[in-house]
Amino acid sequence: MKIEASGSGQNMQPLLKVENLLKRYAKGSLTGAREELLALDGVSFTIFPGTTLAVVGESGSGKSTLASCLACLESPTTGNIWFEGKDIVKLGERARRQVRPQIQLIFQDPASSLNPRWSVLEILVEPLILQRKFKHEEMKQRANFLLVRVGLSPDIVEQLPTELSGGQRQRLAIARALSLEPKLLILDEALSALDCSVQAQIANLLMELQSSLGMTYLFITHDLAMAAYLADEIAVMNRGRIVEQGPAEKILKQPQHETTLRLLAAVPRITRAALPAVEQ
């Protein structure tokens, strides 16, 4: 079914098209010699609406920089990012602020992506207030709706994020991101900080949301098994480059690049054995 979805996507306009993205960090002081760090070195890919692309790579391969650039939180040094046919790299700060709500980012550590001083309700309605989407009285209803949508009880609205469990926090972060009805959701290692059973629950939630809302995901991870479970297509990154890209099944079955092999070897054995069953 998923493959069909991506197949039909081929005829549509891509939601996101990245061309030759390059990001260079200059580290240097006034006196010391300049050091340069190339975080992204010519990254290109496209994502069609309703599909999931997984970007897999080891730590330090430039995945998170990619996420920041796509979410308009950082500017790439060179390259283009076409979002719905519009190049968002060249936009000014004001116009970027219009684009940002449409591309939402879910972070690795839900504890740090939620302001520890704020209550669940305050956290949840912050995007709505910022975008002035709803009237005051509607907001609480909307918040309750979102909480239920991600499988949380509306009773927790008065609690602080520190009082929630890791899985609850990540659900809250997803609910918050969904409140703006984004077109693209970037999940930056969003499952990595959770333990196994919670990971599976959140992964299922994400897939359920995708089928009901038609969400598009960019799933960034170091976990090839989880990537294969969630994604239609996988891109493997190493040192700021995409070294291998293709349908999830193909990457798993016929890995070409040594990075992919290495990542595959890192997948726990039981999960790897279970993989084909999941995919079929």
Binding site: A71, R100, P101, A111, S112, T162
Partner: protein, 351 residues
């Protein structure tokens, strides 16, 4: 949470002390600038319970004093008539809290004057001067610290949040202010401002000078907090919701600086009270006859006062509880910050 309780304890103690100074008009028996040329350098009035005839009185009383024969600064008690201490009696006019006209004083006596801390060279009541002087010194400390923190917050926030050339310029500037020992800096700033001004002008001048001296250190601290808060995920998330810089600073980043600012306030206020005292002591502060804690001590610069009139030193001892309160407050805040740090870091590792 025991740190929270100690914090509240110190806060209440400081509240009581400051309340006493705020209600100086009521607690002080006399007008702080009213002179009594007939009784200069009167030692603290003795309160008795037993009179010359051996009778015990329930209500403490005082005798009036007169100069000893053939002496110019030795006083003796006139034991013929005891003057009982009265409470809630009418006396000199004052304005309670600065606006309520009032005549009632907490204590006093009829027929004689009670000088709890003795009198100064002009026969002014040192106790009244201490309370009213506290208003000047503590307010100068509070406002000066407020000014410093405001400056530090602005500079630190701009430097930390916007970074780049603003950061380097502001931090270089801050270094210049840290390159001087603070008292030299204080005096240097004071040196460039007019000397002979009215009491009110002098008061605000001093606040400006004191407040302008110390901004560099809080600015650095705030900058550090802002720098790390800016990269926190929830700030990046809010930016992702389309938040403006102003919103991020106001709602997410500046609240992070609150504990640093609070701790700094508890450290700076007593320091600035001391700074005002130092300036006034050196004759660069609030001019006489207005009382201030520095003015109260400045007469001790005269050798004769130091040798003969020991009670002129008493104000220095009575101000110690104020500083103790602030020290307690600051250390309880520091402890709380430490506990908070441990708590959050352990939470981070759990998830």
């Amino acid at each position: 949470m025991s740190t929270r309780r100690t914090f509240v304890k110190w806060l209440v103690a400081l509240g009581v002390l400051h309340g006493m100074v705020v209600c100086a008009g009521f607690l002080a028996p006399y007008n702080p600038v009213e002179q009594d040329r007939k009784s200069p350098y009167l030692p603290p009035t003795r309160l008795h319970l037993a009179d010359a005839n051996g009778h015990i009185h329930v209500r403490p009383f005082a005798y009036s004093v007169r100069l000893r024969v053939r002496s110019f600064d030795q006083y003796e008690e006139d034991t013929t008539e005891p003057h009982p201490v009265k409470f809630f009696l009418n006396g000199a006019r004052y304005r309670l809290l600065g606006f309520l006209p009032c005549r009632m004083h907490f204590f006093g006596a009829e027929g004689t004057r009670i000088y709890l801390l003795g009198t100064d060279a002009y026969g002014r009541d040192q106790f009244s001067r201490f309370l009213f002087g506290g208003q000047v010194s503590l307010l100068a400390g509070l406002l000066g610290a407020g000014l410093t923190l405001l400056l530090g917050l602005c500079v630190g926030a701009v430097a930390g949040y916007y970074g780049g050339w603003r950061d380097s310029v502001l931090m270089r500037f801050a270094e210049l202010f840290l390159a001087l020992p603070w008292l030299y800096l204080l005096l240097a700033l004071r040196a460039f401002l007019p000397l002979a001004v009215g009491p009110l002008e002098a008061f605000f001048l001093i606040i400006a000078v004191i407040g302008g001296v110390g901004w560099a250190r809080p600015a650095r601290l705030v900058r550090g907090v802002v720098l790390s808060a800016r990269e926190r995920d929830f700030v990046r998330a809010a930016r992702g919701f389309g938040a403006s810089n102003g919103y991020l600073l106001r709602r997410h980043i500046l609240p992070e600086t609150s504990s640093v600012l609070l701790t700094q306030a508890a450290i700076l206020i007593p320091q600035y009270v001391l700074a005002e005292m130092t300036l006034s002591f050196l004759g660069l502060g609030v001019p006489e006859p207005a009382p201030s804690w520095g003015n109260l001590l400045s007469s001790l610069q005269q050798y004769s006062v130091l040798v003969s009139y020991w009670w002129m030193y008493l104000p220095a001892l009575i101000m110690v509880p104020f500083f103790l309160g602030y020290l307690g407050l600051a250390s309880s805040l520091q402890e709380r910050a430490e506990a908070y740090k441990i708590e959050t870091s352990s939470l981070g590792s759990l998830t």
